[in-house]
């Protein structure tokens, strides 16, 4: 089962959490997660390995353990190195981001959405909307599982203005909202196993 992982991925903390969600899905077995920031395509110069060794951020052993692209992607995501260190062009363009991610949404069986934040991240909210519409024409699509444990937007206990009602309504129609990653994984496992209907 393919699961698109939607959520904010702009800070180290956010990317770590999204990667943790992806890893939890891989650990569950039979689930193939798509985590956007783990799928950025890189065009690496031919001297990249030598450059990593010179920078002291890789050893011959670490270079042998994984693909060079995976290693560079991880070093960039953790800000161990910068694009300038490797003479890489600036970050991905909007067209590439959209085309890459929307293809993964269209082919996904389910979405795991992290909706924490002072409001739902706009990219995440947009992806929830797209998948909700796709569910209408593709009955094999399972639904959206949203993780929501942000104090600022919880109705109770909470101190903010709550979830945006349209996003909330969209999730009530097309998915389930849970507080914990473990609960989200359990629901996705039940969908993987053909148990439980659409939300």
């Amino acid at each position: 089962m393919k699961v698109y992982c939607a959520g904010p991925l702009f800070t180290l903390c956010e990317r770590e959490y999204m990667s943790r969600c992806g890893q939890a899905l891989r650990d569950a077995g039979g689930i193939e997660p798509f985590v956007p920031h783990e799928n950025i395509k890189l065009r690496l110069p031919v001297n990249t390995a030598d450059r990593l060794l010179a920078l002291g951020v890789a050893t011959p052993e670490t270079l042998a353990e994984q693909s060079l692209e995976d290693l560079v992607r991880r070093l960039l995501q953790t800000r161990t190195i910068t694009r300038e260190d490797l003479n890489l062009p600036p970050g991905t363009e909007a067209k590439q981001v959209f085309e890459r991610d929307v293809e993964a949404i269209v082919t996904a069986d389910a979405v795991l959405a992290v909706i924490n934040g002072p409001e739902v991240d706009d990219g995440t909210a947009c992806e929830i909307g797209i998948f909700a519409a796709l569910m209408e024409i593709d009955p094999t699509k399972k639904g959206v599982v949203a993780i929501h444990d942000d104090w600022r937007t919880l109705d109770w206990p909470g101190e903010g203005k709550g979830l945006n009602p349209f996003v909330h309504g969209c999730l009530l129609k097309s998915g389930v909202i849970v507080r914990r990653l473990e609960n989200a994984i359990a629901i996705l496992e039940s969908w993987r196993d053909g148990k439980g209907a659409r939300a």
Binding site: A94, V97, E119, V167, H168
Partner: protein, 147 residues
Amino acid sequence: MKVFVIGPAFTPHAREFLSSHIRRLREHGFDATGAPDLLATTPQALFVEKETALRKADALLVILDGAQIDDGIACQLGLFYGFMLQDPTKKGIVGLLSDERGLRKSAHGFGLNLFIRGLIEACGKIHTHIEDVLHQLEAWRDNSATP
């Protein structure tokens, strides 16, 4: 041509601002509606009301102002794009941005979320003046341009 107008609508003035754009579109012959015309209050009813309006619309005008675009607007944007995939007669999405923070970054995508910008530019265009929005919608209405 039915145009649904979405944008920040949480304060009385924001609703009035949105209504002024709706009126402007109506003056140009468009069958325009938007959030200020809707009445539902519960999440479920609100979703159904807006979903119905989005499904009926031929084109979407989205106001892109704000530190980030409002999450409800972003979700409606995604829903309309999903409807476009089902219905090739839909014309597209046109964005209107007047936020100074975004305008200062006009050469770099207006500071918008890359996925959101990529989506709008895949099926429409982002403008910074309402007159350009009207020209875009008129072109779609007159079939002289496709998204």
